[in-house]
Symmetry: C2
Subunit: 703 residues, 2 copies
C-alpha cells in the first residue's frame, strides 16, 4: 500500500475521534454523529467539542480540540462553514491526522465557498492531514476492531464485504438504508462530498488492501482525475469486483468540434470507455447495483454464461428463461447423464430438461436431488433456484437445501423465493446465510448476468501490448513541418508521410490542378479513379457534390472535371483535385481520434457512411489502448457480423483492423499534438493487401 | 356488455359458493379456500362439500353439492382430477352457473388429462356453466358488496382499482403479495390456469364494464385466440390502461421459411405487433408492471412528455434526469415566469431551473411554493418530487404537501422518498392517499415514462382507413392463374399484373434468353441496366454472383452476359436473364409479408440490404394495418432518419412508403392465398415518381 493510501488509516481506523460542533439537541447533525459513534460502539474514545456545552450525549465536552488532554488522531467537523478553517488549524496543532468535514458552504457554492475550500486544503496539505469532504455525510467502518459510524445517517449497516463510496450525501443515506434491507453487508462506507482531497482513486487503492472488503460499490457523478482513477481501477478490478452507478450523462462540449469523431463523442462516451477499459462494471441504477451486489457477496464468479434453472413452477421459470436470454445468458441444454440422473428422483409429470421443473409437490429432498445433479454438470456455470411456496411444502427445509448447496458449490447459486419477503422464515434463512434471494425471477437473472460480466472483466487478457515497428522520427517531421508553418491542419504530403511512417497504408493519390495533369495521374493510379475536390472550407466534400466516383474512361474523366469546375471554381479559383485510385472491394470503416475536455484523447471505430453518421454505430475507447481494447472496438459495433462475410461477400481481416487501431494509438502516443483525426473511410479490403485509408484529416492542437 | 361477458357475473359476483373438496386439515388447499372465503367476509353463504367431513371451518358440510338445500350459483372444485367430472355434473344438476376448477391433471399433463379437460368443457357448455381453469389458484373480488376471496393465497389484497389476470398460478400468489406491499389496490383477480373456457379476451370485456376497475394488468404466456384478444384490447385500451407482462419469448417456427420476412419474424415479433397495434402496453418484468400500476392508479395521464423535477438534494435529481432522458421524457426548461416565481420563495443557493433544487433546508412550505409554481407552468405535463429526509425537517408535513398537490392537480405527480419504506410516517401518508412513491428516482422516472406511453396509446388516432383505388379482379386473376397451374410461386408477368393492379409500381424489366434479346431490351429500358439471372433454385441471387449492376455500354452488356453464362449455364441450361432499368437514385427499402402459425399474417418494413439482413432493423405489424400502424412501421426503424435526407442526399416521400404498405395490406386482404411476399428492394426514389419495386417474390399457400 502506498503511503498515500496508508494515510487513510487515520480516517478509517482511528484510535480516537473528536466531533467538532457536537450538539446537545436531538435531530441536529452535531448530535446524531456523536450518538451514532457512541451507540455504534466505537472502540476508542469520542470527544465532543463545543465552546458552550459541558456535556454532550453524557460525555464530557471540550471547548476546543486543543483542550483535549489525550491524543486525537481523527476529527469530524460539523461547525458552520465560517468556523471550519479555525477548527482545522486547531486540529493541525493538536496533531490530528484525518478530517471529515461534514459542513457545507465550500466549493459547491458561489461567493466565498471555493476560496474557503482551497484554504482548507492548504491547511491539510501543510500539516499532512487527509480530508474527506467537505459537504458530505461522513464515513463508517464496521470492522469490530474499530466499529465506527461517523455519519449522521439513521441506519447502521450490517457488517459484511461491500465497501461503498458515494459522491452524493443524500444517496448515501438511501444506500445505507437499502443495504440493510436487502442484506448487503458493508465493510466501509464513505460519502465523498466535494472531494477536495480524498478521491475515488484513493479509496480504490485503500480498499484494494482491506482484507474485509470483497467488492467495491460506487455512486459517482464525475471521476476526479481520470488517469489516476483508471490506473487504480485497472489494477483493483482484477482482484475485487468494482461496480459503479455513474450519473450525469450529458453530451456536452463536442458541439463545436470539426470532425466526425468529435461530434459523435461526448463526455458520456468517454465515461463509458473509461469504465469498460478499466474493468469496472457500470450498471444503470441503484437498484441494479444492489441486485448485483447481493449476488457478488459470495465472491464466486461463473466460468461461463451457462445457466441451469431449477423450479417448482412453470410461469416464473419462463420469465427467468426470457430474462436470461435477454441478458446474454444461455439456459443451456443439460447433458444426457444429468437429465437421466434428475429423472430418477422426480415424478413423470415433472421435467428434467432445463428449466428443470420439479412441479408444485417438490419438497426439500427433490430440490436437493435436482440441485446436486445440475451442479455436477460440467456444462453448467451457475444455477437459479426458483421456489414458489405451496402451502403443503416445508419452505424452511427447501431454503436450507439451497443454502447448503450454495455454500458447498464453487458455482454461483441465486434463489428466487417468489413474492416472499424478510419475515418469512425461508427468506430469513437465505439472508442469514448470505445466499442472494430475489422476489422476482427477472432480478435473479439480472444478478447472474452481472456475475458473468464481472467474471469476463476480471479474466480479460490485458497483457501483451502490440509489437510492430514505426518510424516515429519521420512521422513527427510531418507534424513539425505543419507546426512550423503555423498550421492546424496537415496537408497532402504531410498526411501521407505521417500515416505511412506508422505503417498505415494510404490509397494511391495524386494532387492535380488541370485536366491534363489528371489524365497523366491516371497512368500511375490506373482506372477506375475517383475525383475529389480540394477547396478551402469544403469539409464534407460528398455532401456538396465535391466527390465523383467510379470514373472509367478518359471521356468520363473530362466530364467529371467539368462538373467540379462548374461547382467549385467560382468560389475557389485556386481549386485543386485529388485523383485517387478507386478502391471499393471491401468494407468502408471509420477510425478516428478526438480530444475530450475531461478525459483526454479518445479513439473511435465504426463502419463508414451512414453507419457512423446516421446509425451512430460507433465504439469509443480512451487512449492508450490495450490489445483487448482494440479488439473490443472491432467486435463491439452492432454491425460487427459484416466482417465475417455476409450476403455472399468474403470476410475481411479483423486482425488488420485491430492492428490499424493500435498503430493509430501509437501515433497518438508519439504525437501528443494530434487533437482530432479521422480516417473516413479506412477500406478493409476483401484482399487485405489492398486495404488502405481513402480519406484522412488530421488537426493539431493550437499551441 | 355481451351475454358472454355478463355470464361471468356467476363467477365474480355470486350469491353463494360451494367449495367441493373442502378439507378440515390446515395447509390443505381445500381448507385454505374455505378459510379465505369466510375470513375474507364473503357476503353470501359458503357451503363446504366433502363426503366424509361433517363440519369444515365451523361450518356445516354436505357430502354432495346436490345435497345443499339452498340455491348455489358458484362452485370451486378442489377434488382430485379423477373426481372433477362427476362433481361438475352434480353442479350442472344443481343449477350452478359458474365453476372455478383449482384441481390440476388436465390439459397441462400427458395421458388422460387433455381428454378429461375436453369432457369438462363439454359438461360446462351443455349446461351453460362458465369455467375458470382448470389448474389455477382461483378468483377474487374486493367489491364490498361481494367481498370474495376464492383463492388459496396467503395474502388478501387491498381493495382498489386494478384488475389482474395471471396465466400462472405461482405468479398469481406473488402478485397478490406484491400488490399489497406496494400499495396497488385490486378490484378483481383471476388466475386463468389452462384457460379451457374463460380467456383473457373475456376478462378484458368483463372488466371494461366493471366500474370499480380502473386499470387492467396481465401476466400472459400466450394470447389464446389472438383475433378475439385484439378486438377486445383495441376497444378496452381506449378507456382503461391495459398493461401486460408477456413471457415465453421464442423465435420458433420461422426457421424453415424461405423468405427474408419469414426468417426475420417469429412469434415474438407477432406478439409485439399484436400488443403495439391494440393499445396494450407491454412491460419487461413484473417489477416494472407494479412500478407503473402504482402510478396509473390515479387515472391521470400526462398530455405530453415534459417533466419537472422538484428536489431537496442534487444526486438523486441527477439520477432522475438521466433516467427520464433515457426513457424518452423531457426534463423541460421552465418558463421565465415560473422560474421567477420559484425564486421568490427559495434561498439564493437553491436553483429555480429544472431540476428545481430546493436544497437540504427545504421544508413543507418551500416544497409547497415550488410545486404550486411548476404545476401552474403550461410547459410542464407531470412532476417528480424527490425528498431526502434530513433530520431537521418534518417529513410528514412534506408528504402532506405532496398529497395535497397530487389530489388537486390534473397533472400526474409521483414522489421519491429516497430509501424510505412503509413504516416511515411520510411514506405511509403517501401510500394511504394513493400517491405513487418510490425508493429510487429511476423507478419514479420509469413510472412517469409508462404514464406517457399509456397516454400516447390512448390518444393514438386510429380512425380514417386508407382511400385508394385498386383493381382487385385483375390482381386476383394473376393469383388464380398460378393456382390453376399448380404453382406456389408467381412468375414474371403474374407478379407485374398483381403489383400494378394494386397501384404498386414495378421497375421496367424484360425477360430475355439471348444476348441479342438483351441488347434489344435496352432500347426499351434505356441505359444503365442491371442483369439478373433467372435460374431455378437461385433465391439469393446476389450472393451467388447472379446480379450484375450498372452496365453502361453494349460492351459491358456483352461481358456481363458472358459472366452469367459461365456461372449458371452449366447448372441451368434453360437460363434466362432479366434486363432491368437501373434505378439507384433513392433509398432501397424492404417490404414483406409472412404468415405466423399462431397469429396469421404479418407485414414487415425496413431498409434493404444489410439493414434488414445483418442489422435486423425491421418493424413488424399484424395484418390488417391501420394508417397509424403503417406510419409506425416507417417511423419505427432505427435508421428512419435516413428518410429525412442525410449526407447531402435529398429526403424521400415517406407518405408514399406508408401508402405502399397500405396497398400491400389491401392486397393481403383481397388475396388470402398470399403466404409470403418480399419486395426486396422497393426503391424510395429521390424523385418519388421514379419509386418502384426492383425485385419481388410472392409465394402462395399450398391448398
Amino acid at each position: 500500500m502506498s503511503p498515500r493510501a496508508t494515510s487513510l488509516n487515520a480516517i478509517f481506523r482511528p484510535q480516537s475521534v473528536a466531533v467538532i460542533g457536537a450538539s446537545r439537541k436531538k435531530n441536529q447533525i452535531g448530535h446524531e454523529i456523536v450518538a451514532n459513534l457512541m451507540e455504534g460502539g466505537f472502540t476508542g474514545p469520542v470527544y465532543p467539542v463545543n465552546p458552550t456545552a459541558k456535556v454532550v450525549h453524557s460525555t464530557r465536552c471540550y471547548s476546543k480540540v486543543t483542550d483535549i488532554p489525550n491524543p486525537v488522531d481523527f476529527a469530524v467537523l460539523v461547525v458552520p462553514a465560517k468556523y471550519v478553517l479555525a477548527a482545522a488549524r486547531d486540529c493541525a496543532k493538536k496533531g490530528v491526522k484525518g478530517l471529515v468535514c461534514i459542513s457545507a458552504g465550500f466549493g459547491e457554492t458561489r461567493g466565498e465557498g471555493p476560496k474557503r475550500q482551497k484554504e482548507l486544503v492548504d491547511i491539510c496539505r501543510k500539516s499532512g492531514m487527509r480530508l474527506v469532504g467537505p459537504n458530505c455525510m461522513g464515513v463508517l467502518n464496521t470492522d469490530p476492531e474499530i466499529s465506527m459510524n461517523a455519519t449522521f445517517a439513521f441506519n447502521t449497516p450490517l457488517p459484511g464485504g461491500a465497501a461503498f463510496m458515494s459522491q452524493s450525501g443524500a444517496l448515501g443515506e438511501a444506500i445505507l438504508a437499502d443495504a440493510k434491507d436487502i442484506g448487503v453487508g458493508m465493510s466501509m462506507f464513505a460519502s465523498l462530498g466535494n472531494r477536495a482531497d480524498v478521491s475515488p482513486a484513493d479509496l480504490l487503492e485503500y480498499w484494494e488492501h482491506d482484507s474485509r472488503t470483497e467488492q467495491i460499490l460506487m455512486y459517482l457523478e464525475s471521476f476526479g482525475d481520470p488517469e489516476q482513477f483508471m490506473a487504480a481501477a485497472r489494477r483493483v478490478s482484477r482482484k475485487k469486483p468494482v461496480i459503479v452507478v455513474k450519473s450525469g450523462r450529458t453530451a456536452a462540449g463536442a458541439k463545436a468540434a470539426m470532425s466526425h469523431t468529435g461530434s459523435l463523442a461526448g463526455s458520456e462516451a468517454a465515461a463509458d470507455s473509461l469504465m469498460a477499459q478499466c474493468g469496472v462494471l457500470r450498471v444503470d441504477s441503484m437498484k441494479e447495483l444492489f441486485t448485483l451486489a447481493t449476488a457478488a457477496q459470495t465472491g464466486k464468479l461463473p466460468k461461463g454464461n451457462r445457466v441451469a434453472i431449477v423450479t417448482n413452477a412453470g410461469g416464473p421459470a419462463i420469465l427467468a428463461t426470457d430474462s436470461c436470454g435477454d441478458q446474454g445468458l444461455d439456459v443451456v441444454q443439460l447433458s444426457e447423464k444429468t437429465e437421466k440422473r434428475i429423472q430418477e428422483g422426480i415424478p413423470v409429470e415433472a421435467s428434467a430438461s432445463n428449466p428443470v421443473d420439479l412441479i408444485a409437490t417438490a419438497d426439500a429432498d427433490r430440490f436437493d436431488h435436482a440441485l446436486k445433479a445440475v451442479l455436477a454438470d460440467r456444462g453448467v456455470d451457475m444455477v437459479l433456484a426458483i421456489f414458489v411456496s405451496p402451502v403443503m411444502i416445508d419452505a424452511a427445509a427447501v431454503a436450507k437445501v439451497f443454502t447448503r448447496h450454495a455454500k458447498r458449490s464453487s458455482k454461483p447459486i441465486v434463489a428466487c423465493l417468489l413474492g416472499k419477503e424478510r419475515g418469512f422464515e425461508a427468506v430469513d434463512i437465505l439472508a442469514d446465510a448470505g445466499v442472494a434471494n430475489y422476489r422476482f425471477p427477472e432480478d435473479a437473472a439480472t444478478a447472474l448476468s452481472g456475475l458473468w460480466k464481472l467474471s469476463k472483466l476480471r479474466s480479460a487478457d490485458d497483457s501483451g501490448g502490440p509489437r510492430f515497428r514505426v518510424q516515429k522520427k519521420r512521422g513527427r517531421a510531418a507534424i513539425e513541418n505543419a507546426l512550423n508553418e503555423g498550421r492546424e491542419m496537415l496537408k497532402g504530403m504531410e498526411l501521407y508521410e505521417l500515416l505511412s511512417s506508422y505503417g498505415i497504408p494510404v490509397v494511391p493519390t495524386r494532387l492535380v490542378r488541370t485536366l491534363d495533369q489528371a489524365l497523366k495521374a491516371t497512368r500511375e493510379t490506373g482506372w477506375p479513379v475517383v475525383l475529389k475536390v480540394e477547396a478551402q472550407g469544403v469539409v464534407h466534400k460528398s455532401d456538396l457534390g465535391g466527390v465523383i466516383l467510379d470514373i472509367r474512361t478518359e471521356d468520363e474523366l473530362a466530364s467529371g472535371w467539368e462538373e467540379l469546375e462548374s461547382r467549385f471554381r467560382k468560389q475557389c479559383p485556386d481549386m485543386r483535385v485529388l485523383v485517387q485510385s478507386l478502391r471499393q472491394h471491401g468494407i468502408e470503416t471509420f477510425m478516428g481520434a478526438t480530444t475530450d475536455a475531461q478525459f483526454g484523447r479518445l479513439l473511435a471505430f465504426g463502419l463508414g457512411g451512414i453507419h457512423v453518421e446516421v446509425l451512430k454505430d460507433v465504439v469509443f475507447r480512451l487512449h492508450p489502448l490495450s490489445r483487448v481494447d482494440a479488439e473490443g472496438m472491432v467486435e463491439g459495433i452492432r454491425a460487427a457480423s459484416m466482417f465475417e462475410g455476409v450476403r455472399g461477400k468474403p470476410p475481411v481481416d479483423k486482425e488488420q483492423l485491430v492492428e490499424m487501431l493500435l498503430r493509430l494509438d501509437r501515433m497518438l502516443t508519439d504525437c501528443p499534438e494530434i487533437y482530432e483525426l479521422d480516417f473516413n473511410p479506412f477500406l478493409a479490403a476483401w484482399d487485405s493487401s489492398e486495404s488502405c485509408v481513402l480519406d484522412v484529416r488530421v488537426r493539431l492542437k493550437k499551441s
